[in-house]
């Protein structure tokens, strides 16, 4: 059984006409797979490489550069919560927010809660500094958040 469903493959192929060469579809393909499967396994990389007609090592090289895509040893939970730790957020309590969530959920940054509901991450400036401290839940930003706000947003106590 292939790891990538026909539907995922179709979405990846739909990217091809946008670029003059297939290697440029590496990031779009990784995003499609990662969104769907919450990780990118070596098998998924191999299947992507067949679609893009490049070596799997080239895909793995690119993927590992970004520190964004999770491999099977650390799959993502249902929601990925990024807490900004850069300057404007730090000045307005971002680090304390990260610390408190971490204690409450019993996870360090980079880890997933035991029930699989959330992965906690630190982020560098999310480009929402007017709303510091802010968080990103998957790719949706929430500004001026307290600990309670975050828990309400992600539905976790």
């Amino acid at each position: 059984m292939p790891v990538l469903s026909e539907q995922i493959r179709e979405r990846i192929r739909a990217e091809f006409p946008k670029y003059p060469d297939r290697r440029a579809v590496t990031l779009p393909a990784l995003h499609i797979v990662h969104d769907e499967l919450r990780q990118v396994s070596p098998e998924a990389i191999r299947e992507i490489s067949e679609l893009l007609e490049i070596h799997p090592a080239e895909i793995h090289d690119t993927m590992s550069f970004y520190n964004f895509f999770r491999e099977p040893d650390r799959p993502l939970g249902k929601r990925r919560v990024w807490v900004c730790r850069s300057i404007s957020c730090m000045l307005r309590g971002g680090e304390e927010l990260l610390e408190n969530l971490s204690h409450k959920w019993h996870v360090g940054p980079g880890q997933t809660s035991a029930d699989g509901s959330v992965s906690l991450e630190y982020a560098e400036c999310l480009g929402a500094c007017e709303g510091a401290p802010c968080i990103l839940v998957d790719d949706e930003c929430h500004m001026n958040v307290s600990e309670e706000d975050v828990e309400r947003i992600v539905g976790k106590q």
């Binding site: 590496t26 730790r85 850069s86 307005r92 560098e124």
Partner: protein
């Protein structure tokens, strides 16, 4: 100061500001029509005459950059729209994209017509999910209305815009890092020359421009280059190489102020005016200790440098690296510069792409020294070591490929020079400010 009517932000408070209908009701896409009735060379000349300088950080004149493309190039030419906006403190591109996407799309179309490109890639940082959805919808509206695609407005001009999402890496904002990332590789900046205008994306001539720069292009077409030059600051007569700082600018203000936000003003407003008149002053009735003038890469202004005009020259005269992204971050007088500088160094160390040794090692060592100081084990010699390391890395000393390294060095040089007392006091008092959050983060990624 005479009151200034916003141009770039004129529409953002309107209901449905992101919709094509709203944009068109305000005369949207008339600038494109005007451009399409001109020759590409005339459009380029108009932008050149306006002396619009790039808003992405380097301040290079946009029209001039467009003239560096090879003449009569037979193959494709690309435009890369730099929407990677990741410099700490900066969020103006996000506001432009989320609230007025058509202003940007019109600027992209005009620029592509001028440089004879039929394909623009908009490189958007991953974290801007909302921008992605708004732009995607706006681009679809344009295709449906014949404003993108083949034979635009019946003029024979073709253009496709592709949205390309990044994956959370600051270095993708450096123009050649962006190009490598778009090509599907690690975002390692390229050695220049060749510059992208000669050999860029997919080895073809390429122009990289920032979102705000391209938004300005729309208005220059509408109102002319003289209008643009009536706003801002003329060239400094004492500096024959200065081109002036013309046009409106989006200033971001964040940190310890009462009213953080993004305001549009003529280039050249001072840091003090921004803080007091546009951001409600420093919070909690405190005073500013330090102010970042244009993103952390630019370094710091001290409390007695707040009358520095934030144009392309002012911050440099005050010992900062430049205007950068015009993102102002205010630090109050109760905060230690040790903690602030640590935050800047940690960011740069995390974001260094690692291919140049002075940058990879330098950012990491500076972070470690500051970690040690914050853990209560600092020595006075550490301050000289920090300055020495900072002085050895970057394009300016000639040891690295890209400007991230200069941006990592500058806050260190400025902080130790302008706020040395903070560091000495911290070290001699044996203070500690490592929180358990930092200890936690030390273990992640």
């Amino acid at each position: 100061m005479p009151s200034f009517e916003p141009v770039l932000l004129a529409r953002i408070a309107k209901p449905n500001s992101a919709k094509l209908e709203t944009y068109r009701a305000d005369g949207g896409y008339e600038a494109l029509k005007k451009a399409l009735a001109m020759t590409p060379v005339d459009v380029t000349t108009l932008v050149k005459d306006s002396v619009l300088r790039g808003r992405g950080g380097a301040g290079f004149p946009a029209g001039l950059k467009w003239t560096f493309l090879p003449k009569d190039h037979p193959g494709p030419i690309y435009l890369c729209v730099n929407a990677d906006e990741s410099e700490p403190g900066t969020f103006n591109n996000r506001i432009l994209m989320e609230l007025d996407p058509h202003q940007l799309i019109e600027g992209i179309a005009i620029a592509c017509y001028a440089i004879k490109s039929e394909k623009a890639y908009l490189y958007l940082r991953y974290e801007y999910g909302r921008s992605y959805r708004v732009l995607d919808a706006a681009i679809k509206e344009c295709y449906a209305a014949g404003l993108l695609g083949k034979n635009i407005l019946g003029t024979g001009f073709n253009l496709d815009i592709v949205l390309h999402r990044g994956a959370a890496a600051y270095i993708c904002g450096e123009e050649t890092g962006l190009i490598e990332s778009l090509e599907g590789k690690r975002a390692w900046p390229r050695i220049k020359p060749p510059f992208p205008a000669i050999e860029g994306l997919f080895r073809k001539p390429t122009i990289v421009n920032n979102v705000e720069t391209l938004c300005c292009v729309t208005h220059i077409l509408n109102r002319g280059s003289e209008w643009f030059k009536s706003i801002g600051v003329p060239p400094d007569p004492a500096n024959p190489r200065d081109l002036g700082s013309y046009g409106p600018k989006l200033y971001c203000i964040s940190g310890h102020v009462n009213k953080p936000g993004c305001v549009e003003l003529p280039l050249g407003v001072t840091a003090r005016e921004l803080i007091d008149e546009h951001a409600g002053g420093v919070w909690k009735g405190r005073k500013a200790k330090a102010v970042v003038p244009g993103g952390i890469s630019m370094g710091f202004l001290s409390a007695d440098e707040l009358d520095t005009p934030l144009d392309f020259n002012g911050p440099g005269k005050a010992g900062c690296l430049g205007l950068g992204t015009a993102a102002v971050v205010v630090v109050d007088d109760q905060t230690s510069m040790v903690d602030v500088l640590y935050n800047c160094c940690r960011f740069m160390s995390h974001e260094s792409c690692g291919q140049c040794t002075p940058c990879r090692e330098g950012t990491s060592w500076m972070t470690k020294i500051l970690e040690r100081i914050r853990a209560g084990h600092g020595k006075m010699e550490d301050l000289d070591t920090l300055t020495e390391v900072a002085g050895s890395m970057g394009i300016i000393p000639g040891t690295t490929i890209c400007g991230l390294s200069d941006g990592a060095a500058w806050p260190v040089k400025n902080a130790i020079k302008k706020f040395r007392g903070d560091f000495e006091e911290y070290i001699s008092s044996g203070r500690r400010s490592v929180t358990s959050a930092q200890e936690l983060m030390a273990g992640a990624h």
